[in-house]
């Protein structure tokens, strides 16, 4: 294996800037998509535990649709196919005037996909509490909305902190798929450095380290938070 080592390439102009900007894009895509995934996922997850057949059906359809199509195919659907399906004016607007089209598409796609996974965790959390608590709340005269707000949700969110952490890490890793529609995030920049300099080993090592640092930091932080949020006498769990 003959290979010209040159670790200096990583701190040279403009490659260092490329890595930094790639890293910032990775973080922006992941955080923005996570906000969408968490809010929508909570709504869908709650819908799947209600007594309404219609809401449960919609929730199930949502989850099954998004879980059973590869993320990359979804990315292409949003980027290439979705604008074609809109009415002409709206389609034109998406194609021509949507601000930061690649970034926005990546965030929407990742967010909607991960929402289906978050929904499963939220549902598992609520179901883990059991029917008794719900009935007790209703018997006390709380409305169904109040039962969720004051009885079910506060407990279930505390139970599902660990699986939600791993969902966040999944979205963080999946943000690399944004490169397929042209977002120059960490992996894309590493690849670009390799193509420009042929220093693939150094470039990919840098990207790998960035991912590992973030993953380990998040895990460490969440361990601390988990310890504080843990409900005594209850083991944490998640949906598989």
């Amino acid at each position: 294996m003959n290979y010209n080592w040159d670790w200096g390439v990583l701190i040279r102009e403009p490659y260092f800037e490329w890595l930094v900007s790639g890293f910032l894009w990775t973080i922006s895509v992941s955080v923005a998509a996570w906000i969408l995934a968490f809010s929508l996922g909570s709504v869908v997850g709650i819908a799947r535990t209600t007594n309404s057949k219609l809401l449960r059906g919609i929730g199930t359809c949502y989850v099954e649709t998004f879980r059973n199509i590869p993320l990359l195919v979804q990315m292409f659907l949003w980027y290439f196919v979705f604008p074609e399906l809109l009415p002409e004016d709206a389609g034109m607007w998406v194609k021509r005037e949507l601000p930061m089209p690649e970034f926005t598409t990546a965030v929407v796609c990742l967010g909607l996909y991960t929402a289906s996974r978050v929904a499963e965790q939220v549902r598992a959390g609520i179901e883990a509490i059991g029917q008794g608590q719900r009935n007790a709340g209703l018997a006390m005269g709380l409305t169904p909305a109040q039962v969720y707000r004051y009885v079910l949700l506060p407990v279930s969110y505390r139970i599902i902190v660990p699986p939600l952490t791993s969902e966040f890490l999944t979205i963080f890793k999946n943000s690399s798929l944004a490169l397929t529609i042209g977002v120059l995030e960490t992996t894309a920049q590493a690849r670009q450095i390799e193509e420009y300099t042929f220093q693939g080993f150094e470039a990919f090592t840098a990207a790998t380290l960035l991912y590992i640092i973030v993953t380990s930091t998040v895990m460490l932080l969440m361990k601390l938070i988990e310890g504080r949020l843990r409900i005594p006498g209850m083991i944490s769990l998640g949906a598989k």
Partner: protein
């Protein structure tokens, strides 16, 4: 819009698309088999009483689990020709990447499965005078595999979806074939919708099957 949805493009290129699907399936099957073998070995190493061995296996798993699959694919696409010393083509690089990557996930599933076998079983095996290997081979692993079947199948479905990521290095799987046709015939809408539908039907049937198995095992 759907008014001009042209299905003939799909049938005209059916043979080409099926070839792509064949590559996808071959990749999935080999990655599952390779991943299972390597994953089982890793899980055994991770649970081994010999500390350095379990540390190495643990680091391997954590390392691969904190990396995006795309980056792993790029890594091996770049590394494999360097290690082998000659160009090997995208398919083999990707295959190595998938086996190594999946092994980390299968290892965790295996570990959970092995740990789900009750301690009493292991003690009983030891009391009968079985060696560590015999105990694993005849007592623990057969039970562990049974407990793991649903999760292993779910992982297989995820892997089947993940193989579409070979797109980034241009290996001609189902998605890439469809993409080629879409661009050649300028039929992006039809091709991508078809691809999504095909994946959806296959994966949904798979997950329904898993759910039935789960119910059967739970009885």
């Amino acid at each position: 819009m759907f008014g001009e949805f042209d299905t003939s493009v799909i049938f005209d290129n059916l043979h080409f698309l099926l070839e792509g699907m064949q590559t996808t399936l071959i990749l999935t099957v080999i990655a599952i088999c390779g991943g299972l073998v390597l994953g089982t070995l890793l899980a055994l190493a991770r649970l081994a009483p010999f500390k350095p061995l379990s540390f190495i296996a643990g680091s391997y798993v954590n390392f691969f689990r904190s990396m995006p699959l795309i980056l792993v694919i790029f890594w091996f696409y770049f590394l494999v020709p360097h290690i082998v010393g000659r160009p090997v083509g995208g398919f083999y690089s990707v295959l190595v990447a998938f086996v190594m990557f999946e092994a980390a996930y299968y290892c965790e599933i295996m570990r959970a499965g092995i740990q789900s076998v009750r301690k009493g079983q292991i003690y009983a095996g030891q009391a009968l005078g079985l060696t560590y290997t015999q105990n694993m081979r005849y007592v623990v692993l057969p039970q562990a595999f049974r407990n793991m079947v649903p999760i292993l199948m779910t992982q297989a479905i995820i892997l089947f979806q993940d193989t579409s990521l070979v797109y980034v290095v241009g290996v001609k799987d189902f998605l890439v074939s469809a993409d080629l046709v879409a661009n050649r015939e300028n039929r992006i809408l039809e091709m991508f919708t078809t691809v999504a539908l095909v994946y959806f039907v296959i994966c949904l049937s798979g997950s329904l099957l898993v759910r039935r198995l789960q119910r059967k095992f739970a009885q």
